[in-house]
Point group: C2
Chain length 279, copies 2
């Protein structure tokens, strides 16, 4: 079994056609690294899901129930990616959120992606609209990312740098952006657009990263660039358009600090028990 | 039968959990008025769907095949609303659009909504983000409309006026905005955000409506306000927040002109054959 869908606590074989995730992208998701039957950073994923659900007014199933279903799905799984999708459930035609519809949610298990040692970024033309009402949360309105990722594919790159409609660099299509200025790692704000990544949040909480307004010139002139997300960890950037970067000790150091807390992100592939893992 | 789903030309009973509409709102929709087994304004709906699909790079099923399925679903239906939802189909985890996935699409039939004689509009706090890459088309990233419509419900109003993040009035949550300045009907541009409504397009093509930059002061000081969409026709606005409007002959005149071309939108409920209907 590699997927399971639920309406509230009831297991279902298929989603109703009236699902509001399908109609309006009216939902949230989390993309979780699975390692030896556990999910590192799970408390941070759950916190972001609950925060997003509160912002959108979507009910969250009992976390203990979700955790038990996740545990059942990933038992014995050495490595993988688990997607948790939560939608507002069923609704009639029309945008008005249904009153007290049980949330419809699903879990799907995927193989761990193969990641290049250093990434080539495409500078995407597709911009992120400035929308503070939806910024930070990992909602399902992702057409901007779909269009940007299609650009990345056409360019034959690994990922893409996305700017907002004012030209400010924000993030990659599926990762946060980290820039080292010779002294500290900095990452753009996600108050106007972009997703507050779980690993980004951990790095900020550890004092290893600072939030900052970053201009495009600061990004291209950074001593080192990296991307981070909760599936792949910290990935060095080798190129952004015509700009090039060599391997940098600051990136290796940041990767080592992450691997100390979460060994599954170590580059050697060696991994012990995660520090913050549930279920 | 009041709904049907298809992968390409194949009828399916349920949608795959990996559907990209569900994952990312990666799709488009049309909301069609059904009248005596026909769909008025169908060519305009199809044109908008095809335009949106070209913008997003989504394949459109053969129109003749769609039309035949619609005809089968609405035969003998006196009045109703038909929703056509087109998604990019199935894809793996990740934003990259799948190559050559057959589009997944569905039709659902709903009752015609009861519409008040004149609408009370709530001035929504939720703003529309400025995103030219997605403006005009009827895509499935609709969280802004969901949040705005929730405001409308809480305010006990019929609809809501949405402004963009620069404060410009744009549209209602599910209709376009029409403002009469004593001489002509005007409607805001949808080049930055908002949906290019099918009935709005018809009114523009008839020379009954002009596109204009409208400031909030021009909206509240208009002699008459109305909303339009392809399901409900032209609806007078009686209130926007604390502002009030009486019935205005310009609105009645516009309604009469629409009813001449499309009798199903006549207020008396009398209706003959539509002028532009297929299938």
């Amino acid at each position: 079994m590699t997927s399971a869908a639920y309406i509230g606590r009831e297991r279902v074989e298929a989603l109703p056609l009236a699902n509001r995730g399908l109609s309006y992208g009216d939902g949230l998701f989390e993309t979780l690294r699975v390692h030896r039957g556990e999910v590192p950073l799970w408390p941070r994923h759950l916190a972001r899901l609950e925060h997003g659900a509160a912002r959108l007014g979507i009910a969250v199933p009992d976390p203990a129930f979700i955790e038990a279903r996740i545990a059942g799905l990933i038992t014995g799984v050495e490595a993988g990616v688990l997607k948790l999708l939560l939608t507002r459930g069923e609704g009639g035609r029309g945008y008005a959120p249904p009153v007290e519809a049980p949330p419809t949610w699903m879990l799907t298990l995927h193989p761990l992606p193969v990641t290049p040692a250093a990434l080539r970024l495409h500078p995407c033309e597709t911009r992120l609209a400035i929308q503070p009402a939806l910024a930070g949360i990992k909602h399902c309105n992702r057409l901007e990312q779909v269009l940007a990722r299609a650009e990345v594919e056409r360019a034959g790159c690994d990922e893409g740098l996305m700017r907002d409609t004012d030209g400010r660099p924000v993030c990659a299509t599926a990762a946060n952006l980290l820039a080292f200025d010779g002294r500290r790692w900095r990452t753009p704000s996600v108050a106007r657009c972009g997703v507050a990544g779980v690993l980004r949040g951990w790095l900020l909480a550890q004092g290893l990263l600072e939030e900052a307004e970053l201009a495009m010139e600061e990004v291209v002139s950074a001593e080192a660039l990296a991307l981070c997300n909760a599936v792949r960890g910290i990935l060095p950037v080798a190129a952004l358009g015509a700009h090039r970067w060599h391997a940098h000790p600051a990136t290796t150091d940041l990767q080592a600090r992450l691997a100390m807390a979460y060994p599954m992100f170590s580059l050697s592939g060696e991994a012990g028990e995660p520090g913050e893992a549930r279920p």
